[in-house]
Structures are given as structure tokens and as C-alpha cells.
């Protein structure tokens, strides 16, 4: 049954066959594998990436309770109407205390259920602390290879600096609501700078005009190069289904513009470079740790440094110097034995 031993089997030719034939169950299972078995990710992505057609990945982010799920559902519905096939990844937080998660985004997406052009997957944020789960980008890869051409990635409710969404979205919609902060909040660095579109949801509530005014002021005083346009600021009331046609239209226009200008390609390239860098770092650290007892040494050193009130830099320099030596020796040894 669904036990550890069956994983090797479940990633067999049958699953791939079903997946490429369009089986939704196979798609769901592949996502589970990506989510639960990081070690299987390279093998899976090797197969997925050549089949991808470059789906546009739209990140929907913003503070808790502003209506991200409702907005996501509204955009997904319009995308399907326009002929797109949609994947939705809805991330909710994992409890750092119990490891459990209450995934409630589907409650706001009722109207989409049963549509064969939409696939919704809820995810717990698990070890991710920047608004997504570490495996979120790979789940988007699964959707892309499955044939979805619009992927909406809804983050957990974020504050100012949770920017994981940058690591997997081609376009970022920041959803806000009135009466959550003044111009001083808007001036702060972080999530607002990442947004390609700002959406003030719940525009039926008072305070919408003053928030709009804050953003107008913010972008007016911005020193960004003239060539880069300020992100559009739109208002909507998702609950009352007001203003969302305009939001969807703007999203599609931005996608079109960013594809034409090469900006999306540039983002994809930067993400790929970032991924390579972090994989190499991880691998180097893994190899170094395997060759030495560096983690143990670090622990002893940290205790020592704390006790004697010393700076850590001499130890760090020494460790880095050894990385070069150890890995060179490893290569020499391999040649000798190989």
C-alpha cells in the first residue's frame, strides 16, 4: 500500500505514462512525491522540464485575510473563460509547534470545483518561512508539464519581507485592503517593491481612497528609471465581484507586455541561476561535511567562541580555506582509486 517501499515503484513508467496521458490522479501523485521526497525531485524534474511549454506563473501574495484566495478564484475563473488551463497552488502555514496545518483556501474557491480546466492543490508551508513551501516551484513544474498554461501561486498571508514568491513567479500581484497602514508602511522596503500589480481588495470598505493616495505618492517620488513603469494600482471587491474583470485584463496585459519585453524570460533565467547556485552550495557543503567533521567542529567552535567572547571570523576563514584543500584531495584520491 502507501508505504515507503512503494515509492520506488510508484515513480515507475506507469505513473509517467498516466501523467502524460492526462490522468489527474497521476498528476496529484507526482505532486505528492515532489512534496514529500526531495531526493526524488531531480529525477522527476529531468522528465518534466523538457515537456514544459512555459506556463506563466502568477504569484498572489499579501497579508492574511485580505482576500487572496477569493481573488485567485476570480482570476482563475476568468482565465478559464479566456481559454486557458489553470493550475492553482494554495499555500497555508504549517504550525511550527505541532507540524500540522489547516489548509482552508479551498473554502473560498468553491465556485471552481469540478471544472476540468482547473486543478487546485493545497500545500502546507512546511519548512518554508518566506510564504511558500520549499517544493512549491517544483509543483508548478508538474502543472506546467501537465499542460496548464496559467499557474496561480497563492502564498500564505505575508507581512513585509516574505519574498519566496520571487523564487517561482513570473508576475506578482500584491493584494491589500484598506485601513491596514499609512504612507509610512507603504514607504518601507520589501514586498511592495516586488509587486507587478497592486490590488486594493475590499474596496467597498472605507479607507480605499487614502490608500490609493499613498501609493500614488509613493510611485511619484520613486527614483526608479523612467523606462520602468510604476506598477498599476487597481481596486476591486472580490466578494461583490466588482472590478475583477479589469484586474484580470490588467494581469493579462502585463503578462503580454513582459513576454514581449523579455522581462519574463529574464526572470526565469535569474531564477535558474539562483537555483544552480544554491544547489552547488548545498552539494559542496554536503561533500565537505562528509569529508570532515565540520558540523561537529562548528558546534565546538561556537561554544568556545561564546565562552571566550571571541569573533568568529578566524574560524570561518580557516574552515573556508580547508574546503578548497579537502575537495582537491578528494579528487586526487578518486583518480588514484578510479
Amino acid at each position: 500500500m502507501r508505504t515507503g517501499a512503494s515509492i520506488g515503484r510508484s515513480l515507475g513508467p506507469k505513473l509517467w505514462d498516466d501523467f502524460f496521458k492526462g490522468s489527474r490522479l497521476a498528476c496529484a501523485r507526482l505532486i505528492t512525491l515532489v512534496e514529500n521526497f526531495p531526493e526524488s525531485v531531480p529525477e522527476i524534474r529531468d522528465k518534466l522540464i523538457p515537456r514544459q511549454k512555459g506556463a506563466i506563473r502568477v504569484g498572489i501574495t499579501g497579508p492574511p485575510g485580505v482576500g487572496k484566495s477569493t481573488v485567485t478564484a476570480a482570476l482563475a475563473r476568468r482565465a478559464v473563460k479566456a481559454g486557458h488551463t489553470v493550475g492553482i497552488i494554495a499555500v497555508d502555514p504549517t504550525s511550527p509547534f505541532t507540524g500540522g496545518a489547516f489548509l482552508g483556501d479551498r473554502v473560498r474557491m468553491q465556485s471552481l470545483i469540478g471544472d476540468p480546466h482547473i486543478f487546485i492543490r493545497s500545500m502546507a508551508s512546511r519548512d518554508g518561512h518566506g510564504g511558500l513551501s520549499p517544493s512549491t516551484p517544483y509543483v508548478a513544474d508538474v502543472f506546467d508539464a501537465f499542460g496548464m498554461d496559467r499557474i496561480f501561486i497563492e502564498t500564505v498571508g505575508v507581512g513585509q519581507a516574505e519574498l519566496d514568491v520571487l523564487t517561482c513567479a513570473d508576475l506578482i500581484v500584491l493584494v491589500l485592503q484598506p485601513a491596514t497602514g499609512d504612507i509610512i508602511q507603504a514607504l518601507k522596503a520589501g514586498i511592495i517593491e516586488a509587486a507587478d500589480l497592486l490590488l486594493i481588495n475590499k474596496s467597498d470598505l472605507s479607507g480605499t481612497e487614502s490608500l490609493l493616495e499613498s501609493f500614488r505618492f509613493l510611485f511619484e517620488i520613486s527614483a526608479r528609471p523612467k523606462a520602468i513603469a510604476a506598477p498599476p494600482v487597481l481596486t476591486a471587491s472580490a466578494l461583490h465581484n466588482k472590478g475583477l474583470d479589469e484586474v484580470y485584463k490588467e494581469v493579462e496585459q502585463l503578462i503580454h507586455g513582459h513576454v514581449e519585453s523579455g522581462r519574463i524570460r529574464e526572470k526565469k533565467r535569474l531564477r535558474l541561476e539562483g537555483e544552480m547556485k544554491s544547489s552547488v552550495l548545498q552539494d559542496l557543503w554536503g561533500r565537505f561535511s562528509a569529508l570532515t567533521n565540520a558540523p561537529e567542529e562548528m558546534r565546538t567552535a561556537a561554544e568556545d567562541l561564546l565562552k571566550n567572547g571571541r569573533s568568529p571570523y578566524p574560524f570561518i576563514r580557516n574552515l573556508c580555506a580547508r574546503i578548497t584543500m579537502e575537495i582537491r584531495d578528494e579528487r586526487t584520491n578518486r583518480k588514484d582509486h578510479g
Binding site: 489527474r24 490522479l25 514529500n36 487546485i120 492543490r121
Partner: protein, 135 residues
């Protein structure tokens, strides 16, 4: 796969509008470290099984207080089997007479819980089901 999180759907099928019990159970499962996909009120068997499929859930839990448990459990079980989810656990709770519990068991439904049952018993039941490798 011992460390894989248990993913469970909690839903209320039909028009029964009392979801306090479902929320209490969902909360207990979250506190036990599980990942609960909460669907809430007024679900159809189709919408529940569709969610179970897309989420690749291990367990589907239905909360039914309306008396329509025989109809809903039967339909959900049929749809689960039809959609390749026959190896997942279908369980639940509500006001379900003992004689019906036996009938549900015959349909392939797992243990169902009722008023006064210990929340820990529900957690343990699901863990034991998973630990034994499933149904």
C-alpha cells in the same frame, strides 16, 4: 515514508449546516501534526472526491448530522473507488446509529465516531490505519 505527513480532507456533505464538530475534529488533527484540507459546508460527494483526488489525500473524513449518512457515505465511497482512491480511508462522524455503522462497514467505510468520543481516539485511529500500511 514514516515521516510523510498524513493529509486528510474534512468535509460536510449536503445541506446540514452544523460545522462546529467538523472544526473541532479538524483542529485536533492539525494539533496532532496532520495536514487538514478543510472544505467546510454544503459539499457534494463529487466536490469532496474531486478535492481528495487533487490533494492526493490519505484520508477523507465526513461530518454528517442530518441523518443522510447512508446516502452520502455510499456515494462518496463509490466515487472514491471509481476515481482510483479505493486504497484511501473513508471515515467520519456524526449522529450515526450503531446498526448503520455496521452497514457502513460493509460498504468499506472505516470506523465512524459519534458524540462524546475522545478526540485522541480519532487521531490514534488514523495513525494506526496509516501505520499498518492502509486499509
Amino acid at each position: 515514508m514514516a515521516d510523510k505527513k498524513i493529509k486528510i480532507i474534512i468535509a460536510k456533505p449536503g445541506l446540514d449546516g452544523h460545522d462546529r464538530g467538523a472544526k473541532v475534529v479538524a483542529r485536533a488533527l492539525v494539533e496532532a501534526g496532520m495536514e487538514v484540507v478543510y472544505l467546510g459546508l454544503r459539499q457534494t460527494p463529487e466536490s469532496i472526491v474531486n478535492a481528495a483526488l487533487e490533494e492526493d489525500a490519505d484520508v477523507v473524513g465526513l461530518s454528517i448530522l442530518s441523518g443522510a449518512h447512508m446516502t452520502h457515505f455510499k456515494r462518496v465511497k463509490e466515487l472514491m473507488d471509481k476515481n482510483g482512491l479505493g486504497d484511501r480511508l473513508l471515515t467520519g462522524g456524526g449522529i450515526i446509529p450503531t446498526k448503520d455503522q455496521d452497514k457502513l462497514k460493509e460498504l468499506g467505510v472505516g470506523k465512524v465516531f459519534g458524540p462524546g468520543d475522545d478526540l485522541q481516539a480519532i487521531v490514534d485511529y488514523i495513525r494506526t490505519w496509516r501505520g499498518s500500511g492502509g486499509a
